[in-house]
């Protein structure tokens, strides 16, 4: 994870917040994004990637980059049954790849919207979560993000998920433990 300043204060703030949330992130140019994301997934031992059907995914050439790394690629909607979706059957090391509509720099939050191309459970049914975030989608505060998401005249999405770090549970001896239900990792690729 790069600690050098990106030159964009919102990006830098987001990176710092992601660290606080125990997520990871990197800032890359569009030409490198597909390769870098695929490499991160390969390094994390990902066997299968479930990708949101979104122009950003194709725009950075991610499906091909993943195949080059030997990672199995499935586009949303997957047609898989519930058990396989949640990792009870099939490979366990699955990565859900999302494309946030927005991100909140102050909190280290990505804002995911459900749609035909973007399942509402993409990030949480899988063991890993990679978010592909165009840098111009970053706002500073939660208030701004919610105002944009639920703007007057814009139909509310069926499900908006604010995700701030990998899943955490603090129920056993009141000490935060990762990964009770949702993804154990979260990696945000900020695309310039």
């Amino acid at each position: 994870m790069s600690t050098a300043s990106s030159g964009d204060p919102l990006v830098d703030l987001l990176m710092a917040s992601l660290t606080r949330r125990k997520a990871t992130g990197q800032v890359v140019g569009g030409e490198d994004a597909g390769r870098e994301a695929a490499r991160w997934m390969a390094d994390s031992g990902v066997a299968r990637a479930v990708l949101a059907s979104d122009p950003v995914v194709d725009g950075i050439g991610l499906p091909d980059a993943l195949r080059r790394e030997g990672i199995d690629v499935i586009m949303w909607p997957t047609g898989l049954g519930k058990r396989e979706t949640m990792g009870l059957e099939g490979p366990i090391d699955v990565c859900g790849v999302t494309v946030p509509a927005l991100a909140v720099a102050e909190r280290g939050t990505v804002v995911l919207e459900a749609s035909e191309g973007h399942g509402r459970g993409l990030d949480v049914t899988s063991r890993h979560h990679v978010a592909l975030l165009p840098a111009d989608r970053i706002v500073r505060t939660l208030g701004e993000a919610l105002a944009l998401t639920f703007a007057d005249g814009r139909p509310a999405p069926s499900a908006v998920s604010l995700v701030s770090g990998p899943s955490r549970s603090s129920d056993i001896e009141k000490i935060a433990t990762l990964g009770a239900h949702g993804a154990l990792t979260e990696h945000v690729v900020v695309i310039r």
Binding site: R21, W76, P77, T78, K82, R83, T85, M86, G87, L88, E106, R107, G108, T109, A114, S115, E116, G119, R120, G121, V124, T125, T141, L142, G143, L146, A147, T149, F150, A156, P157, S158, A159, V160, S161, L162, V163, S164, G165, P166, S167, R168, S169, S170, D171, I172, E173, K174, I175, T177, L178, G179, A180, H181, G182, A183
Partner: protein
């Protein structure tokens, strides 16, 4: 699994409560493990809270949060109408349940009509209040709590200790033992990570099987008909995305007008609840899945519960409805920290529980009428409350409303007290008598046994009969 609880007829307090409130506090005080766990939990919360005040300006946010919630309660009927209309517009169904029994009937009926055999639940105080698990259980439907702490409690056959961290009174060894019993095998890890991983797999089976997912609602946003479900684990997301039907249960007072207000409350909530500036997952759900979407429930049902809340509007207890169920007052309360949540005998424990449980149940309800008295009125709760509810004042008002044999006796005593102490001559006479009694009972400046109500004093401490007290 449900021998502990039976369905009631609208009460809030648990039906399997044993002994008096005082007896339960005495039992709790004897439990060293409990005390250790509570202290650790409260200390960690306290550090987080201090950080929020120091680094994130929590104190400045409280005033606005208070104003927002008070205005929500003032405008409640209009907000609920709008909420209802918007949910229906989005394709959802809304049910306004007068009480817990009506809510349970609706949800059970829905499950039966759809042929659902398994219900997966994420944590919801409202569903504990209405005893939904018992109702489903009575109808032969399997209910699984998916919040890790709540599942642990379900296995242990116990009630939660705390609104946010329900299993805070259990430790790792106790949890491992429960998991072994549930899985029917000794092959369950001992370490924290291993235990969590084990639970992950067991509960995913249930998500896959469940025909209905039931969640609570932290906040309803009227302007778009959206329910907000806040969590850290991700189980609420699975509960609200995997089963074919989603039922959201919401207390009628948990609604804000618009997203400006919602943003503020959603920021304050994790600060007060867990001492962090964000919870891991905030799920904002508006109706069922849209046409063309490949996951998400096909049906969305919002059950809005009155259960006595509406009747509090316009009374001296109205501010209690501002509560956003963060649990800060519990952690800040010296009483709760000493005895834990289970001693209260209600899903709502701590200072807020001591106020609203008897209010929702009625002043002569045996299970809850003593609750407001189990407080030293220290005021730490009102100080900790992110929406500025003056809980210590509400506790005093709740005491005035309480009706029980004990309060009737004390009422007689205070009538006599009032007659004597409003007149200087009788007051002085009383004082002279009292000082004589003290001298008579004192040995070397201390009395170890006092008569009447004084016995409560000398049960655990001596009374100095001279001042400054003798060594």
């Amino acid at each position: 699994m449900s021998t502990r609880k039976r369905r009631g007829d609208g009460g809030v307090a648990y039906l399997d409560v044993q002994g008096t409130l005082r007896e339960r506090t005495v039992d709790a005080l004897r439990d060293r493990t409990l005390r250790g766990n509570l202290d650790a939990a409260a200390a960690s919360w306290g550090e987080g809270r201090d950080s929020m005040r120091r680094d994130y300006g929590l104190d400045d946010m409280r005033e606005r949060a208070r104003e927002i919630r008070r205005s929500n309660i003032r405008n409640l009927p209009a907000l609920l109408s709008e909420m209802q209309a918007k949910v229906r517009e989005a394709g959802g169904t809304v049910v306004r349940a007068a009480d817990g029994a009506e809510a349970c009937r609706y949800i059970t009926g829905l499950a039966q009509a759809r042929g659902v055999k398994v219900v997966a639940k994420s944590k919801s105080m409202a569903t504990e209040e209405i005893k939904l698990n018992e109702a489903l259980d009575d109808a032969g439907i399997e209910v699984v709590e998916t919040d890790l702490g709540e599942w642990i409690l379900q296995l242990a056959n116990e009630h939660p200790s705390h609104i946010i961290a329900p299993a805070v009174h259990l430790n790792r060894e106790q949890v491992a033992a429960l998991f072994r019993e549930e899985a029917g095998t000794d092959d369950v890890p001992d370490d924290r990570e291993g235990l969590v991983a084990h639970a992950r797999v067991r509960l995913r089976e249930k998500f896959a099987e469940a025909g209905i997912g039931v969640s609570g609602v932290n906040l309803g946003v009227a302007s778009t008909g959206t329910v907000c479900v806040v969590e850290n684990e991700g189980n609420a997301r699975l509960v609200t995305s995997q089963p074919r039907i989603h039922v959201a249960v919401m207390g009628m007072e948990r609604v804000v007008a618009d997203w400006d207000e919602a943003a503020h409350i959603l920021e304050v909530l994790p600060m007060a609840a867990i001492g962090q500036d964000a919870a891991n997952y905030v799920n904002l759900i508006t109706g069922p899945r849209r046409d063309g979407e490949a996951d998400g429930p096909e049906e969305f049902h919002l059950v809005i519960i009155d259960g006595g809340r509406g009747a509090l509007r316009g009374t001296e207890f109205e501010e209690a409805l501002s509560c956003i169920r963060c649990g800060a007052c519990l952690y800040s309360c010296p009483m709760w920290r000493s005895v834990g949540g289970q001693a209260y005998g209600s899903p709502y424990s701590g200072p807020i529980g001591a106020v609203i449980t008897p209010l929702l149940e009625g002043p002569s309800s045996p299970a809850s009428r003593d609750l407001p008295f189990m407080s030293s009125l220290c005021g730490a709760c009102g100080e900790a409350c992110p929406v500025g509810i003056p809980l210590q004042d509400l506790l005093v008002r709740a005491r005035a409303r309480s009706s029980s044999p004990a309060t009737r006796t004390s009422g007689m005593a205070f009538r006599a007290w009032s007659r004597l102490w409003r007149r200087p001559s009788t007051y002085r006479a009383w004082m002279a008598g009292w000082r004589l009694m003290l001298r008579a009972r004192g040995k070397s400046g201390w009395a170890t046994e006092l008569p009447g109500p004084g016995a409560g004093w000398t049960q655990v401490r001596d009374m100095p009969t001279r001042w400054p007290p003798r060594r």
